[in-house]
């Protein structure tokens, strides 16, 4: 089943076209990667899908709801983790978890149970009363992700979630993402780390506001005769530039 369906999505900022007729769909339970250089329009797409920004035109359904009319229902069914770090530094680990859980309307008992479970899984029981500003960045990032899926959304949107994180933590972070899909959560992730694309089930490569190609990492590598996703990306990006020159 398609959990996200996008047809002819166009987003303009004045005369600048950020998204130029995008058409794609995301299957339930997959890790769907959105790749592209900075300014390629990845974040814009994500913001539209989350209801943070209105599209200029196009048909867009998220979790079965219309992006134009049913924004509130969409918001209830998604989780979101932004590029910038999104926990409150002057609240404790536990307070951050409970705050977001409360915002998503979870019941108190459920919150307490799941909080204990989560802290145990993350091995953070001992620091649950520490302020976020006092714990290491890698931990914060993992916690931010856990908070984004704490209310068990159907889809979680991750906007460049691993920016500024060391390779080991990035690895662990992707393990957490895989765990989440086992719980049936669909993951929509943007990144500009090409090695991370390998972890995705399917990858969309965006160049200058358009979808340059969309497939599984393996098929993309075969198609472009490339060793890794980085080469795939470079070939696609170069093609776009050549096209501009003509």
């Amino acid at each position: 089943m398609d959990i996200i369906r996008v047809k002819d999505l166009v987003k303009k900022f004045g005369s600048f076209v950020a998204n130029d007729h995008l058409t794609f769909h995301v299957e339930e339970g997959e890790i769907f990667g959105f790749l592209g250089a900075n300014g390629a329009g990845k974040t814009t797409v994500m913001r539209i899908l989350c209801g943070l920004s209105a599209p200029t035109s196009g048909e867009i359904m998220v979790a079965g709801y219309n992006v134009y009319k049913e924004r509130e229902k969409i918001k209830q069914n998604i989780g979101y983790m932004s590029q910038k770090f999104s926990l409150y530094e002057d609240l404790t680990v536990s307070e951050n978890i409970r705050l977001y859980a409360g915002i998503y309307g979870m019941r108190k008992k459920e919150i307490l149970n799941r909080e204990d479970e989560l802290l145990e899984r993350l091995k953070m029981e001992e620091i649950k009363n520490k302020f976020i500003r006092d714990i290491p960045l890698g931990w914060r990032q993992k916690l931010a992700f856990s908070v984004a899926i704490f209310h068990q959304p159907r889809i979680v949107f991750l906007d460049e979630p691993t920016g500024g994180v060391d390779p080991i933590t990035r690895r662990q972070f992707w393990e957490m993402i895989h765990e989440a899909t086992k719980e049936g959560i669909t993951v929509f992730v943007t990144t500009h780390y090409m090695d991370e694309a390998e972890y995705c089930d399917r990858v969309t490569i965006m160049v200058d506001g358009r979808i340059a190609d969309l497939d599984t990492p393996r098929k993309l590598k075969e198609k472009y005769n490339a060793k890794n996703m980085n080469e795939v990306f470079l070939k696609l990006a170069r093609k776009a530039k050549n096209g501009d020159d003509k």
């Binding site: 979101y80 590029q83 409360g102 998503y104 309307g105």
Partner: protein, 368 residues
């Protein structure tokens, strides 16, 4: 509702965990009111006065005694000639010189006119003006008391009375003005900074992507400041009344209701400012230069509006503070009711609606 309350609780935590915020919220108002209350009082005491008495008769001596024993002046010596006036001013020995002409007493009795001259060092114009006023008041009250003994052919007595502030106490002026200033400062500045902070730290996006509605986010951010600003308003009124003895003649309920309206207005300005700025820094700058300075300079708090160029008077009409000062002065000092301040109240109400609409529109266009 539960999710909203949870959000408000978070906001309180932000406030109570940040010493700087707490300092601005609770320290600043008290410090400001005490400083302004004691320092900006326009009363001048212990002015050094020198005497140049060419007649040295009983009447002139008595006037000198009256003046030097009034509490406002300190006797700074006798001068022998007019040349010495400049000297005492330059050396700072005296700020004002009282001069009696030749045959002072005789001329009063025979010609029914005699001259006293007051020469003041006006390099400090305000205190010079005040010193002259005090001296004049003392001299004329002396002649008033003498008018029965010395029968003059005719006499005009001007009796002046300063209503609502008989002693012309500066504090009466300062407390309402400060209240207006502090409330707008705290409400507008703090809310604009706290909302801008969410944007700057990237915590606003997850909130907007959550089921919380934009209006719930704004109200959630504003609610704690409504309560705290109200506490501040009450504190300032109490300080004014019990420490500085500013009268509170009018209805307390009306005063609090008007304060609440003004707080709401200030908060909506704060929300509006935060909607147009993306960082705490810019929110702070806009609040400071867009609100604080005009509030102090052209709202009529310190400088009289009537003396401003016409353009500035128009600008001053755009300042919420100006209208609020009229309202609270009316209620506190004169005891006026709503019947006399409804116009100002309506203006504040209109401004509040305007800023709420603008803020909501800005917030929406950001989303589109």
């Amino acid at each position: 509702m539960k999710r909203f309350l949870g959000f408000v609780r978070k906001e309180f935590r932000h406030i109570f965990r940040d010493p700087r915020t707490l300092g601005i919220l609770f320290g600043l108002p008290v410090v400001m009111i005490v400083l302004f209350g004691y320092v900006v009082s326009s009363d001048v005491k212990d002015i050094r006065i020198a005497i140049l008495d060419h007649s040295k008769d009983p009447t002139s001596r008595e006037i000198v005694r009256k003046i030097t024993s009034s509490g406002y002046f300190i006797y700074a010596g006798d001068l022998q000639s007019e040349k010495e006036i400049a000297e005492v001013f330059e050396s700072g020995e005296a700020k004002i010189v009282l001069m009696f002409g030749q045959d002072f007493e005789t001329r009063i009795k025979t010609e029914s006119t005699a001259s006293i001259r007051l020469v003041a060092d006006a390099s400090d114009a305000n205190s010079a003006q005040l010193a002259v006023n005090y001296a004049q008041a003392i001299i004329s009250s002396y002649f008033l008391s003498k008018s029965e003994e010395i029968s003059l052919p005719w006499q005009i007595n001007v009796k002046s009375r300063m209503m609502y502030n008989e002693e012309l106490s500066g504090v009466y002026m300062v407390v309402p003005g400060l209240m207006a200033l502090i409330l707008i400062l705290i409400s507008a500045l703090m809310t604009s900074v706290t909302i801008a902070r969410e944007k700057e730290f990237g915590t606003m996006e997850p909130l907007l992507a959550s089921p919380l509605k934009a209006i719930e986010i704004i109200l959630g951010k504003v609610t704690p400041y409504v309560l705290l600003s109200f506490v501040n308003a009450v504190t300032i009124i109490l300080l004014g009344v019990f420490v500085f003895h500013v009268p509170l003649v009018g209805s307390i309920a009306l005063l609090l209701a008007e304060s609440m309206l003004y707080i709401t207005l200030s908060l909506s300005i704060g929300v509006f400012i935060s909607a147009v700025s993306n960082t705490q820094q810019s929110a702070m700058m806009i609040s400071m230069f867009g609100l604080m300075l005009p509030t102090i300079l052209i709202s009529g708090f310190i400088f009289p509006i009537e003396n401003m160029p016409t353009i500035l008077q128009w600008f001053s009409a755009l300042m919420p503070v100006r209208w609020f000062i009229i309202i609270i002065k009316g209620i506190m000092l004169k005891g006026t009711g709503l019947a006399f301040v409804w116009k100002e109240t309506l203006i504040l109400l209109g401004m509040t609606l305007f800023f709420i609409l603008m803020a909501v529109r800005r917030f929406k266009t950001r989303l589109e």
